[in-house]
Symmetry: C3
Subunit: 379 residues, 3 copies
Amino acid sequence: QTTSSDSLGVDIRHTSKGFQFTTPDNKFQLQIAGRLQFRYAFSADQDPLTFDDYSAPNQHVFKINRARLKVGGHAYQPWLKYYFEYELGASRLLDFRVMVEKWPWLSFKVGQWKMEYTRERSISSGKQQMLERSLINRPFTIDRQQGASIYGRIDQGGLADFNYHLAVLTGMGRGARENDDKKLMYVGKVFWNFLGDGPSISGSDLGYHDKPQASLALAGATNTSPYTRFSSSGGGELLEYQGGVPGQYDVEQWVVETALKYKAFSWQSEYHRKRINDRIGGDTGHLAGFYLQGGYIFNHGAVETGKPLLEVAARYAYYQPELSLPNNSEEEYTLAVNCFFNGHLNKLTADVTLFDFDELSMNREANDWRVRVQYDFSF
Amino acid sequence: QTTSSDSLGVDIRHTSKGFQFTTPDNKFQLQIAGRLQFRYAFSADQDPLTFDDYSAPNQHVFKINRARLKVGGHAYQPWLKYYFEYELGASRLLDFRVMVEKWPWLSFKVGQWKMEYTRERSISSGKQQMLERSLINRPFTIDRQQGASIYGRIDQGGLADFNYHLAVLTGMGRGARENDDKKLMYVGKVFWNFLGDGPSISGSDLGYHDKPQASLALAGATNTSPYTRFSSSGGGELLEYQGGVPGQYDVEQWVVETALKYKAFSWQSEYHRKRINDRIGGDTGHLAGFYLQGGYIFNHGAVETGKPLLEVAARYAYYQPELSLPNNSEEEYTLAVNCFFNGHLNKLTADVTLFDFDELSMNREANDWRVRVQYDFSF
Amino acid sequence: QTTSSDSLGVDIRHTSKGFQFTTPDNKFQLQIAGRLQFRYAFSADQDPLTFDDYSAPNQHVFKINRARLKVGGHAYQPWLKYYFEYELGASRLLDFRVMVEKWPWLSFKVGQWKMEYTRERSISSGKQQMLERSLINRPFTIDRQQGASIYGRIDQGGLADFNYHLAVLTGMGRGARENDDKKLMYVGKVFWNFLGDGPSISGSDLGYHDKPQASLALAGATNTSPYTRFSSSGGGELLEYQGGVPGQYDVEQWVVETALKYKAFSWQSEYHRKRINDRIGGDTGHLAGFYLQGGYIFNHGAVETGKPLLEVAARYAYYQPELSLPNNSEEEYTLAVNCFFNGHLNKLTADVTLFDFDELSMNREANDWRVRVQYDFSF
């Protein structure tokens, strides 16, 4: 076989991406890893969506929240990379992509993956600072899509240091086998790393950056499809929007992000706008929301003695489901504590959240507390 | 990466748990294995449940009955273990758990797994003495649940040698994402290994124990949920019980077990009781059942010459679906023959079963024969 | 463990079947590979079936068409082989089989796999010459079935060089857990390799055969089941046939095949007949179809310089859904271009197809064009 290699020199090691096998000529590499996330929640796990959700019966929830098998590496050339991720609990193929990363300023990607659109969605669920994403992730995320993109980094390390991503996608969500029509989804994002490399796409300043790493990012997306929102289940509808027919919803949306990591402190924020034009019903909806999030690791020196790192983090999120009804809003106040035994790969997280729901257009309001504990383990 | 290790010393070998990779510092270990179970049955595979099942049309059934991918090992510490098992045929995540096994007398487990409740269910379907579990497994097993447990072994090897397991679970069965209410499932089990180590959780005395290994075990469980039984599909209902609503069924149950392995002979038995209280309908059901099972390997010396081991085994099972109708019962008489090419990892099993069904409360009875052949192959 | 082996000598290499691990005694071998197939199509991906399909709205389709995890090897003996293949996108177990290949003239297989019946179906979707199988695959393929077979090769290399396959199957299709009745599917196939080894079961003459390799094959199958066709989804019905009940359809079918590979040129053809007897309705259908396919690699010397191989291939397919309505037919004219970066393991394919649909029994006809581009990547 032209693809066989000498057996003597295959390099095997355990890395943060699991066990890794590399042929001596570095033409082939395979990484195998898994991740388990166990979650306890009271009185419910999901963020409340409707007024009625605030009075639902209390539950002690415990579950395997995520169970992932991850396989990545490269083949034929060091710059021809692949990656797939399978959710074993729900039996869903999440990521499956091939990347040509030969030049830093111009890379290509084809397949299915989480579009580079919002920071909190791009950060792996195993590398979050908080226990889970915010209240505003549901209405604004583009989530995983199928298509192709070009991306890269320009003027690396200078004042004009940029990352860019441009993608053309079917806009039908994870797992779709058809497109509804000839219209596609287009997504673009630009990061301006004005202090150098830019913060990594992960929560918390575990690496303790002596020099601040910051980025300002702007992203936009447009799509015509039967859907008004996306999740790991694929396309779906927001409250107030009926199940769509092909080409029913024209969606345009944008987001502005900030991110900073500096001396054990980390910060991130997003501000979102989204317009949904119902081409059948004729209505147009306008949505807005934002979150602010920060955290600090108290004992950053502990990493040298092998002891766990401890972090306290907080988030505030605000969501307006319809701007023309300005007194309707949902808020989230969350406080989280992290205990990093081995960074994000082996950690315990607890959070407490207060949800506040105002639907003054219907003269009602509600609020509720939630407590959760989560253990995240990668191998 | 802090988790990388020197590539030179990674230890690779094939074990009974498949190919195994261990870093030189023994901080990381990965095992990959698979198992295939092919089954032929005539005139049906499933145990008959109802009177009508006894007159169902005959079939030649052949199928991939089980197709398992198993991944286990440890990470960060030799005592921080993980394991997952995925059923490829039905695309179901069966096991996914993390264990802290630092002290023999006090271990911790979190995730989803087969609760330590009955011996025949705890024994892997690949390590059974008979071709399949008995008639009474369906009504009494607790099967896989999600939650946490503590367990351990006390006074190892002495007369007061005990194994214990205590678990708190949601009681919603395999794959559940929610709990129905605030009430949980509690399970406890104690093994008294009065002759030393106790027999392993597997069928047949393949190891040929010169000294007898025996255990007497007692287990109990209590749960409030919509379900009256559990299987690999998750929660479900026994015959005569309607699909439940949250918190409908209060179930209390217990089992007494015996097990022995001695000089190629093996024995096991279980006696079960179960009470189901319908909190909506107000009725209370009482179920009982038991099985007795024994087997003997005729040519235990053959293992030294590399020849297959041959075993004959038999089982009798008796089930009363409702004690207040004492003339209703189901019986199973099964004779099985095993040919162990490589222990449980590569074996051929055949069985013949006579089922006897008495439903004298409705003045009817029936019986039927079944023949099956099974090949079980692990790699 | 009797199955453990010395770690020092485990042989690791990357082969065309992925990373491969072999114990020093060659008793255990494990291969892990994956394959991704990304497809773009306009104005639809599936072959049109009905008259209405020809006027369906145009779509830009892009999707992960196939995402396969493949694990194979042997255990306990070099001749005791196993293989499984899982479709990650649809969460389906495709292949799972164990083979005893001790003697070339007499091998045994048990499990689920693509029955050796037609060449184009037997060729892996990753080793096709064209972008996808022909129009006549749908009505005539037997696809994957569960059962057992014997097979082998007689007079290897001589004029009387034959391959044979005989199989007994449940005839219920991929993933079935029951048989509908006592009746089984029987399949037989004979290859006559009159020029020596016979062409491999893969598209295109990538190996550049200086001496021609050819085979003539004949296969037949008979089945009684609720189904009139099979696919990766399992059993189903052809147009004009209603969902069946147990034992409704008696199907008898046969195929004659040719195949040739010679100096960068490759050829294959199939001629099919199929009779469907509806034992309930009393009707009998007669179906016929054939395809002719050829391709040529223009720069076969490029393989020495590491440059991609370029091939042009064409196919014509003709299908008559009912011989008693001789003016009803479907035709496919396809032209494909292949760019083999690393043989079938890393290739880009584009095709253009003209479909012609005649249903003169209903006085209507239609035709349509389709363009597709596909990237196939194995690791």
